[in-house]
Amino acid sequence: MSTGFSFARIGAILIKEFIQMRRDRMTFAMMIGIPVMQLILFSYAINSDPRHLPSAIIDRDHSAFSRAIVTAFANSTYVDFTIAPSTPEEAEEAMASGKINFIFEIPEHFGRDIARGTRPQLLIIADATDPSAASGAITAASTIINTGLAREMSGALSGLAAGPPPVDMVFQRRYNPAGITQYNIIPGLLGIILTMTMTLMTAVALTREVERGTMENLLAMPARPLEVMIGKVLPYVLVGYIQIIVVLNAGRILFDIPFEGSKLLFFWISTLYILVNLLIGFLFSTVARTQMQAMQMMVFLLLPQILLSGFMFPFRGMPHWAQILGEALPATHYMRLVRGIMLKGATRFDLIADIWPLLAMIAAISALALVRYRRTLD
């Protein structure tokens, strides 16, 4: 029996590993299936040059000139005018709740002033919480306006075309005037960090009991599934709170991130989000046979939460189907809520559209987990 380095033994271990890999069908399927799914999903969904951003138009002029500008912006595909509010307040509300990215305001006598050559103001307010979402349209704006007005500036007005730009564009970057990326990234990161750790904590909650053989003892005792679920989930809510405190303080100290809105509201929506993630983890735990599988499921969910939630890429810049998928992810709603509260000072009335999905998820996931919970060792 030789005790030196042996290729035969390497071969033995290799064969054993391959056999075990093949036996664990679910792990194997996920190893092959997940990359393919993700490649297809994300390569079509992600768009770093966002188009069709929802916008509001307040047109007080209703002249040929104002219509030309609206048409020019719509044709540029950078923005879609989804609402036409009658007051600026109404438009601001829509922006605070995250429904629109831009507000275009065309003042009275806009067309007349162009004709007179007095260069009327065109106000464009951009939601700058995500600086990258606003940048494309802002860069292209002056070209769009000039092209749009070119046809109207023919004939008697052709003299003006040669002079200074006929419109005085005024940009306002709302909520994040300096366009600081961290303002957008840190609330988003909070959502990602929470989903990553919270889901992981509970994902192994039951599979660990099964793997250690303690599940048999747990099931032999008179405990209801709901009792087990609540008991397994609640301790980690505290862990979630600690993470939030750490991230927020780091954000404040290192990047001077503002906190405009209600801390109490923030606390409540964070609690909802933590619960959703813990329950998702618990659900994985009822489905997976091993801790390994539970962790794979967690990673499977993590990637779309990073890529489709509006964390890495502007949400409104994604194709419609990807936005629908994104709406089904808790991180999407939490990021809107956190950015809304921290940067925009949004109230619960502005945010109701993103609060109820979290509540619905808590109810649906708990119900599913309780159905899936195995009361026996079968």
Partner: protein, 315 residues
């Protein structure tokens, strides 16, 4: 309970009929009937994989049977397993308490799960009677096999169950601890607690009041432990002398002899047919160096005989 006749015998603690468990296409437990009277020590015997654990798990609601019905402690085993669990103590074959909790923490957890009153008093009493009071803050995972087994028994007794289901409780435990364990079992039985225990060991089987022998998911025989060997009707001779190994090999080849087993310095030679057996050993009885004495067949011979019969039936 109104159906119970008004005489002294209380209703059986376990009364199940036709219990069946199927994994895939294999019947792990097949049409199993079991009646266990109150206060009895009932032994489950059988080789590995015979369905002992599965049967115990079905009785305490950890597995759902594919067929059968019956009661445990007066509750329906299929629909009322939640109630059964409150009055049953189940000790698993593999140590299944939490190894990363201390001894005391494990007991407190179990006590809380059963919503026991006077929790601290109960746990302290359990620790003292276990003899683990000084080590109560030690992690359960660091205990030796014998101590783990005692802790597990203590944990499943904490809620004063009416029925104990013990799944190979003495596997891997040293002889002294095993003896003490069985003394505890008999004390509990004297106090009216019913005990269903599975085991591999024949010396433990004889300590049971009743025995059921299981193989391939079927119950081959059951009854009071003293009756089993007699009912099977084996004849056994004991032989002592030199060169028993050679003798054993020769006897095994001889028709009429079913089994030859070595016990210390003697052989037990058995067969189902008394005349055939005696004819088979006659040539050897004349040898001076061998001392032959007839003896009562033991449980071990009886069960090996049963196993052989079943194997033939299954072949």
């Amino acid at each position: 309970m109104s159906l119970t006749p008004a005489h002294d015998t209380p209703p059986p603690v376990i009364d199940v009929r036709g219990l069946t468990k199927i994994y895939g296409t294999r019947k792990v437990v097949d049409d199993f009937d079991l009646t266990v009277p109150k206060g009895a020590v009932y032994g489950f015997l059988g080789p590995n994989g015979s369905g002992k654990t599965t049967t115990l798990r079905m009785i305490c609601g950890l597995l759902e049977p594919e067929g059968g019905s019956g009661t445990c402690l007066g509750w329906d085993v299929i629909t009322q397993s939640a109630l059964i669990k409150t009055q049953v103590g189940y000790m698993t074959q593999k140590f299944s308490l939490w190894e990363d909790l201390t001894i005391a923490e494990n007991l407190h957890f179990v006590a809380r799960m059963y919503k026991l009153d006077n929790r601290k008093t109960r746990v302290n009493a359990a620790l003292v009677s276990l003899g683990l009071n000084e080590r109560k803050n030690q992690l359960a995972g660091t205990l030796s096999g014998g101590w783990k087994q005692r802790l597990a028994l203590s944990a499943c007794m904490l809620h004063d169950p009416q029925l104990l289901l013990l799944d190979e409780p003495t596997a891997g435990v040293d002889p002294k601890a095993r003896r003490e364990f069985w003394e505890t079992i008999h004390e509990l039985s004297d106090n009216g607690i019913t005990i269903l225990v599975s085991t591999h060991y024949m010396d433990e089987a004889v300590q049971c009041d009743f025995i059921a022998y299981i193989a391939y998911g079927k119950k081959l025989i059951d009854g009071p432990s003293g009756d089993i060997a007699k009912r099977i009707g084996l004849t056994t001779w004991k032989v002592e002398g030199p060169n028993l190994g050679v003798l054993a090999r020769a006897l095994k080849q001889t028709p009429g002899i079913e089994q030859v087993a070595r016990f210390g310095t003697s052989l037990h030679v058995s067969g189902p047919d008394k005349k055939a057996l005696e004819a088979a050993i006659a040539p050897y009885q004349s040898k001076d160096e061998l001392i032959w004495t007839p003896m009562q067949s033991g449980l071990e011979e009886a069960f090996i005989h049963l196993m052989k019969e079943v194997k033939d039936n299954f072949a």
